[in-house]
């Protein structure tokens, strides 16, 4: 059979009519519809609703609850000229940096790295306990930490013989940073464990054969292999920590707003003070900050790949 001349052969494959799978558009849409519906219902709609509420003076109770008025960008102006907002933003940055970027990442990596050189049984036990911190309901873990940090009968005071130190009152931000590190380290540990497992042993051994010490092995073999995982991990735990509300159960943002990170600030503003409109406005600011963080990380990840 002679080969078809150029341009006369079947051309279906090259025409992009938007129907790559050959299902027909209607069917393709039908397959996607349930997912799209759920995403719209639980992600898109609340975001748009937040956007709308942020432009009103909607309140939890009173006349503004019945009949909210459109107030334009008043809520945003109010938030951006409010010292409490900037105090909260500053605390959040310290909290995220301390408990996620430094605490969870570093501790998670340290545990994962140590566990590559111990016996399997030891590793299983350590991983079990670290995971436990992550999977126990936060109401339970906060209660345990309450007991740990308690002023008069607390375990920590007994261990350190520090008398009647009121950790949650004297060091509220430090306390929730340590608490959140403790809770969240499991994720980083798991992610780094699997990243470290993907480093070919022969490459580490090659380095050992020429006399590379642990630091040189890390720099030249391990780190280049896990760099992508470090970025992914940092992105995820930054976002999670930025949005976490659990520290509320420990300090409720206090005392004197000294652990009043943004999610708690919004909660107290919207539901304790009843200012739903203002709370929504700050929520939207948080969404935007989240998007900025995600964009920066994704850029970095892309740059690395190319």
């Amino acid at each position: 059979m002679p080969a078809p001349a150029a341009g006369t052969g079947p051309s279906r494959a090259v025409v992009d009519d938007g129907d790559v799978a050959g299902l027909g558009k209607a069917r393709a849409v039908a397959f996607l519809a349930p997912g799209l519906l759920l995403i719209s219902l639980f992600l898109v709609f609340p975001a748009l609703w937040t956007l709308y509420l942020g432009l009103t003076n909607y309140r939890l109770s009173g006349s503004a609850a019945k009949n909210p008025q459109f107030v334009g960008i008043d809520n945003y102006i109010h938030a951006l000229s409010d010292d409490r907002f900037f105090n909260s933003l500053g605390l959040t940055l310290i909290f995220v940096f301390g408990s996620a970027v430094i605490g969870q990442s570093a501790l998670g990596f340290a545990i994962a790295w140590t566990m590559t050189r111990v016996r399997k049984s030891v590793r299983a036990v350590v991983e079990f306990f670290v995971l436990l911190a992550w999977i126990i309901p936060s109401s339970v873990t906060t209660f345990l930490w309450y007991a740990m940090l308690d002023r008069s009968n607390g375990t920590l005071n007994a261990m350190l013989s520090t008398g009647n130190t009121a950790w949650l009152l004297d060091y509220p931000l430090q306390s929730i940073i340590v608490f959140n590190t403790w809770v969240g380290t499991a994720f980083s540990m798991l992610l780094f464990s699997s990243a470290l497992a993907s480093v070919p042993p022969s490459q580490l051994e090659s380095a050992r054969m020429v006399g590379a010490g642990p630091w040189a092995q890390f720099r030249d073999v391990v780190f280049p292999h896990i760099r992508g995982h470090v970025l992914t991990n940092t992105l995820l735990i930054t976002l999670w920590t930025f949005n976490t509300f659990t520290p509320y159960l420990l300090t409720a943002g206090g005392p004197d707003d000294r652990s009043n990170i943004l999610p708690i600030f919004i909660y107290r503003l919207a539901l304790n003070d009843g200012a739903l409109g203002q709370g929504s406005a700050i929520s939207l600011i948080m969404i935007i900050i989240n998007l900025v963080i995600a964009t920066v990380y994704l850029r970095l990840l892309k740059e690395r790949k190319s």
Binding site: S202, Q203, E205, M209
Partner: protein, 359 residues
């Protein structure tokens, strides 16, 4: 440059399994030495123990005059090429080659010129700025060799150096290695499960099974005079014919047929002794007319090997099979009645424990 000596070397894994069991071996200075055996025989464990990547349980290892048994891998002046080459994917070829010098804190410019020099020797010109992922398997292997050369070791250790290459490239790389090794003049130990590779490359071969040495000898010795039936069947591209028989009245009785006692075993066996008679298919021939002293049987299978064919002959009484390599123009048809002929000096006898009878 140095010799390697292991004395009563034992590597025992938790659970009591011995990867290396009482190994005494001396590898001479400048020698190209093969560790050969089926998978799980301990050959790689022995190599890694020499490298220092595995701690020996007892015994000692000397490289030249230096006792290295408890030294770190990096202090042994040994370079290893791994089966998967273990190149660092994020480094350029030049950086990979010069990596040992980086660890030795040699200045960057000198590292680069040394990488170029070694790269030239291993025909890697023009590839030095690339990444390992952009190179073919054969080129990657040469980079791994170059990295080993750069550290100027006393000993090279190669773990299955050819097994990650495709068949055609493997022969090319084999010839390349065979030429390179004496040029470098460095004592080289390599591990392989491929007997053809060991025969082709090595000056001497150690054949291992279950952590124990089975035979140590030149390729010719292990091919022609295997120490036992294991070596006999493991070495050779077609495995040796091994038939059970008894010694009777100055000949070997296989089924009801008589063959001459192999030259080596004459006067070393007694009447009634149970033995195994062995002959390589390459040393057997086929006759279409009655041949006295030959084994009579019927052709059942004929396998084409290219320029020759592997003929399987079934002996009538007990169904024993004998394989014979014949040249392409002399293939008998299936069902042909034939006589398998041989020279008694090319046949061997093994005793009831499988050990070869003779010197």
């Amino acid at each position: 440059m140095a010799s390697i000596t292991t004395s009563s070397l034992i590597k025992e894994y938790p659970g009591g399994v011995r990867g290396v069991d009482e190994m005494d071996v001396t590898i001479h200075d400048g020698e190209f030495f093969a560790l050969l055996g089926p998978s799980g025989c301990g050959k790689t464990t022995l190599l890694r123990t020499i490298a220092g990547l595995e701690k020996s349980t007892s015994g000692s290892i000397k490289i030249g005059d230096r006792e290295v048994t408890n030294m770190e891998p990096g202090q042994r002046r040994v370079a290893m090429v791994f089966q998967d080459y273990a190149l660092f994917p994020h480094m350029s070829i030049a950086d990979n080659i010069a990596y040992p010098l980086k660890i030795q804190k040699v200045a960057k410019t000198e590292r680069h010129s040394r990488a170029e020099e070694v790269g030239d020797k291993l025909s890697l010109q023009g590839l030095l700025e690339r990444r390992p992922g952009q190179l073919s398997g054969g080129q990657q292997q040469r980079v791994a060799l170059a990295r080993a050369v750069t550290s100027r070791p006393d000993v090279f250790l190669f773990d299955e150096p050819l097994s990650n290459l495709d068949a055609r490239l493997r022969l090319e790389a084999r010839t390349f290695l065979k030429k390179l090794q004496p040029d470098l003049g460095v004592t080289t130990v390599f591990v392989t499960h491929d007997q053809a590779e060991a025969l082709a490359l090595a000056d001497r071969i150690a054949i291992m099974r279950s952590g124990k040495m089975q035979q140590l000898g030149t390729p010719r010795e292990v091919f022609q005079r295997p120490a036992n039936t294991f070596v006999a069947s493991f070495v050779g591209s077609t495995s040796m014919n091994l038939l059970k028989g008894t010694v009777s009245a100055g000949s070997v009785l296989i089924g009801r047929q008589r063959v001459a006692i192999p030259t080596d075993a004459v006067d070393r066996v007694g009447d009634g002794q149970e033995i195994t008679w062995g002959a390589r298919p390459e040393y057997l021939d086929i006759s279409l007319v009655a041949a006295p002293g030959g084994l009579e049987g019927t052709v059942t299978v004929s396998e084409n090997l290219g320029a020759s064919a592997l003929i399987t002959v079934e002996l009538p009484e007990n169904g024993d099979l004998v394989q014979v390599v014949v040249s392409e123009d002399r293939e008998p048809g299936i069902g042909t009645h034939v006589w398998v002929t041989f020279e008694p000096r090319r046949t061997l006898l093994f005793d009831s424990e499988g050990l070869r009878i003779g010197d």
